[in-house]
């Protein structure tokens, strides 16, 4: 007589470790970029000093607070799912998405102002400035752009988690997806915590 054995193996600890390994690769990616920034800052000290004054510290600060707030809502969502409060978890994840979008809208306006002033890579105005300015704005657009891409990926991941909760695939006893999503979102937070002072404050 043949028996069919349905194996539903799950290893949440391994899943967490896997996510951390991915986070390590992301940390090295941004560390490399921070290193490039540091080297060029030393090389073109004057240009970086003047170019960083073109950035709006107020918008940067507001965006930092927004991102930290989204980290808080994400963290609380991680707790509420464990307590079986599905509706509250969904509400908190939705708030996190809204905060992420607000961050991107602020970034859009900030970038738009720079584009209006012709301060974007390859523009005639920027090329006419010093090499330090060119390097600063090149790195600014690349690094904040890469961070924004990571944030968009995070938003998609949260939307997938919301879908999982609504379909009953993520719940109080199976929340590894939400935990990993939370880790990724905090990585986005972590990277911004260094991007903000490097570009906006050190001048």
């Amino acid at each position: 007589m043949e028996h069919t054995l349905a194996i539903n193996h799950r290893d949440d600890a391994a899943s967490r470790i896997g996510m951390w390994l991915f986070i390590f690769t992301e940390l090295f990616l941004f560390a490399g970029l921070f290193l490039v920034f540091a080297v060029y800052r030393v090389k073109y000290y004057e240009g970086f000093h003047l170019a960083s004054k073109e950035l709006n510290v107020t918008i940067g600060t507001i965006n930092s607070i927004i991102l930290l707030l989204s980290g808080m809502t994400m963290g609380i969502a991680y707790l509420t799912i464990q307590k079986g409060k599905t509706k509250l978890t969904l509400a908190l994840l939705t708030i996190t998405i809204v905060l992420g979008i607000v961050f991107l809208v602020n970034k859009y306006f900030e970038w738009s102002i720079k584009f209006e002033h012709g301060l974007y890579p390859g523009s005639p105005e920027l090329i006419s400035l010093s090499r330090g300015d060119v390097m600063f704005f090149g790195l600014y657009f690349f690094m904040t752009g890469l961070h924004a891409l990571h944030l968009i990926a995070g938003l998609i991941l949260i939307a997938i988690v919301i879908g999982g909760i609504m379909r009953g695939r993520v719940h109080a006893s199976k929340y590894a997806l939400l935990e990993n999503c939370s880790l990724y979102w905090h990585l986005v937070d972590l990277v911004w915590l260094f991007l903000f002072p490097l570009f906006y404050l050190i001048n």
Partner: protein, 95 residues
Amino acid sequence: MEPTKKKIEGYGLYIITFTVLSFLTLLAVWLTHVRLASPIMIGFIMLIAACQAVIVLFYNMHLKFHDRILTIFVGLIFSLIILLIIVTMLDFVYR
């Protein structure tokens, strides 16, 4: 789900970390208005960023509540990154 080393119970932890992180962000912004020598100001601001990173790693990313081996791994990775930056900068400055 694998049991964590310590169970996180209240939402207060996240509210406190958000408050502390926001305060540190505002402190870093305020420091830019204080008349300090450039290297000292950069040192303070990067120290604040490092403190914020530790808070995010330990509390928001739950390193404090998971196995110590994970904390050791993260510590090693950050040590390697710091070493990479120091060695490259030394090479660049004194070449």
